[in-house]
Amino acid sequence: MSLSFDRIKEKLNILADAAKYDVSCSSSGSVRKNTTQSLGDSSGMGICHSYTEDGRCVSLLKILLTNHCIFDCAYCVTRKSNDVQRAAFKIQEVVDLTINFYRRNYIEGLFLSSGIFKSPDYTMERLVAVAKKLRLEENFNGYIHLKSIPGASDELMREAGLYADRLSVNIEVPTISGLKLLAPDKKHEDFTKPMLKVKNEIIQYKSEKKIIKSTPKYAPAGQSTQMIVGATGESDKDIMYSATHYYKNYNMKRVYYSGYVPVAEDSRLPAIGTQVPMLRENRLYQTDWLLRFYGFGVRELLNNDHPNLDMDVDPKLGWALRNMEYFPVDINKADKSVLARVPGLGMKSVHKIISARKFRKLNWEHLKKIGVALNRAKYFIVCDSSKWEHRDMEGTKIKGLILQNSTGKFRKEYSSQLQLFS
C-alpha cells in the first residue's frame, strides 16, 4: 500500500473514532435530484448502508476535520487537556474519501464535524469549503451534514446552508447550570446563536422560494441537536422540557439523546467503566416519538409528580396506567388520535385498523393478524367480541399482569435495578 494511503488510514482511524459519539446518522428529508447526469441523487429517503457492532446505523461518512481543539469541555473526548493522538485532514482528502466511498455505494454522504482550532470562524470556514467543493467541483448530489461551530459568524452560517442538507449544533448539556460546570469556556449563547441564524435563514429561503422558484435550497433537511444523558444529574423532565424548547423555538427536525459514555476521569462526571444508560436513552426516544407522532403533550408524560420515566414499562403504557379513566377504547369506533394512545398500538397498526374497519367490524383475530401487541393492548380496548377484559382493575394490577406475561430486551437491567432499590 502506498504511503499516502497509510497516512490517510491513520487519520481516518483517529478522526472517525473521535466523531462516533455524535449519534445522528440521518440522511433523509432532503431531495436533490440528479438532473445533470452527474454523481448522486437523494430521493428524500435515507439509506442505512451498514450497521456497526453496537447496532447503530452507518449511513454517512462521519468524521472530524480535526481533533485539535482550543476548548476543554469535560464530557468531550477531544478536549484540549486529554492526552490523545491528534490529526487533521486536508480539505481535498475529505472530498476524495467522500466521493470514493459514495461511488462504491458505501454511504449516503458526509457528516463533517470538527474540533475548534484557532477560532470558531476559521474552523467553520474549512467545513464550508469541503461542502462547497463537493457541490460545485464534484457536482455531488449526495447528503451533506455540517456541524455548526458554536460561535461561528452569521455570514458563514448563511453560506453553510447553501451547500449542506442539514446543520446541527450539539447542545450536549441539557441545562445551563450543567453547561457552566462542564464547559466553562463556552456560553449558552454560543450554541443558540448559530441555531437561531439557521432557523431564520430556513424560514426566509422558504418564503422567497414561494415567490421566486429559482431561489436556491437552504439546509433542506433542517437542523438537529444532541443532548448527553446521564453526565450531570438532570431528570428526564429536565431533558424532555429542554428538547421541547428546541423543537418549538428553533424548529428542530430532530433532537438526539446520547447516553453518556465515560471518556475521562473527572470528578464532575461518572467514572470510566460506568455503564452507559442505554435503557434510559431508549425511554427518552420513545417519549420523543410520542410527542412528535402520537399527539402527546410533554406535561402529560413528565411533570412534578412524575419527573422521571418508568424504567419497567414504556412511556405510553406508563401514561395509560396512570390514566385508566380514558379506557377502554372501542377499536371499531374510536378516532385516530384516541387509538394512537392505546398501549401496544403503533401508528402503522392504527392506520391498518382504520382502513380495515371500513369493511367489517374487527375482532381479536383480525387485530392479532394486523400485528397489534395484544398482550399490552387487550387491557385497554374492546372490539367485536364479548370476550374482553371485564374486570375493573387498578393500573398496578394490570402492570403486574403485563410484566408477568411478556419479556423485554432490557428486562434483566431493570429487574436488577428494582432489586437494588426494594
Binding site: N34, D41, S50, Y51, E53, Y106, A356
Partner: protein, 257 residues
C-alpha cells in the same frame, strides 16, 4: 361445466398477466398457475400453456391500475417474491378486485389481502436492503461491479435507484442466484447474462480484475467501520438483526482482516 385447469406460463410477470387474461376470457376454472420450469401436472386437472402476449398483459395491468394504485405495486412486488403458489394467490386477489365495486386492497382483515401485503412488504424490504448492501468494486476497465444474492428477484426494482444515483459511472450488478445482471453503460440500463468464472465476494484474495487502488479503498472502509463502533455499547444481536449473516460475504466492511 368446465373442468379445472392448470395454466403454465413462462415465468415472466407479463406471462402471468397474460394467464390472468386468458383465464378471464375463456372462463377457465383455474386450479393453479405454474412456471414452465417447475410445472407439475395435477392428478385431476388438465394443463394449458400460455403464450405471453404483451397487449393482453397490458390490459390486465391497466384494469388493476384503474381499480387501485397501491394494489398494482403490491401485486408486482408480491409476484417477485417467487413464493411457492404466489400466482394462484394473486389470481384470487385479482378476481376479488374485479368482482367488487369498491377497492379491497386495504381490507387487512381479509386473509388474501393481508398475505399479499405481507409478501409485498418482504420484497420491498429486500429491495431496500439491496440498495443499501450493494458494494461496488472498480474493475480495471472502469466498471463498478457488484455481485448480489438477494432472497427475492429484486433487480428489476432497484435498477431505477442506481440509474439515477450513479449516472456518471458505468456499473454492473449481477444476481448470482438468478444468473442475470443489470448493466449501465452511461446511456441506458441493459439486462445481461455473464459467464462468471468467479464470484466476487469480500474475499481476502485480490482478483486481477480490480485495480490496486480498489483494495486500498476497501481497506479504508473496513477501517472506518471498525473505528466508528463504540465498544462499550456492543450489541451483536441488534447488529445481526440489521445485517443478517447471509449478506456478509458481499460486504467489504465484514471482511475478516
Amino acid at each position: 361445466m368446465n373442468a379445472t385447469k392448470t395454466l403454465i406460463y413462462d415465468g415472466s410477470f407479463n406471462g402471468f398477466l397474460t394467464a390472468v387474461f386468458v383465464a378471464f376470457e375463456e372462463k377457465i376454472l383455474v386450479s393453479d398457475i405454474q412456471k414452465n420450469v417447475v410445472a407439475q401436472s395435477g392428478l385431476f386437472s388438465e394443463t394449458q400453456t400460455i403464450f405471453t402476449q404483451i397487449d393482453k398483459a397490458k390490459r390486465v395491468w391497466n384494469g388493476i391500475h384503474k381499480k387501485s394504485h397501491s394494489a398494482i405495486k403490491d401485486i408486482y412486488f408480491a409476484f417477485l417474491s417467487e413464493n411457492n403458489g404466489v400466482e394462484l394467490l394473486l389470481y384470487r386477489f385479482i378476481c376479488k378486485m374485479f368482482a367488487g365495486t369498491t377497492s379491497i386492497a386495504t381490507d387487512y382483515s381479509d386473509g388474501i389481502v393481508l398475505k399479499i401485503s405481507q409478501l409485498a412488504r418482504s420484497v420491498g424490504r429486500e429491495k431496500h436492503r439491496m440498495e443499501a448492501f450493494v458494494r461496488f468494486q472498480l474493475t480495471k476497465d472502469e466498471i463498478y461491479f457488484a455481485n448480489i444474492e438477494p432472497d427475492f428477484d429484486v433487480l428489476p426494482l432497484i435498477s431505477k435507484h442506481f440509474r439515477s444515483r450513479y449516472a456518471d459511472q458505468q456499473w454492473l450488478i449481477y444476481d448470482v442466484k438468478r444468473k442475470y445482471g443489470i448493466y449501465f453503460d452511461l446511456d441506458q440500463v441493459e439486462i445481461i447474462s455473464l459467464d462468471l468464472n468467479e464470484i466476487h465476494t469480500n474475499s481476502l484474495n485480490k482478483s486481477a480484475h480490480f485495480e490496486d487502488e480498489e483494495y486500498n479503498y476497501q481497506d479504508l472502509w473496513n477501517n472506518y467501520f471498525r473505528s466508528t463502533n463504540i465498544k462499550s455499547r456492543i450489541n451483536l444481536k441488534l447488529h445481526t438483526q440489521h445485517v443478517p449473516k447471509r449478506y456478509w460475504k458481499y460486504l467489504s466492511e465484514k471482511k475478516a482482516v
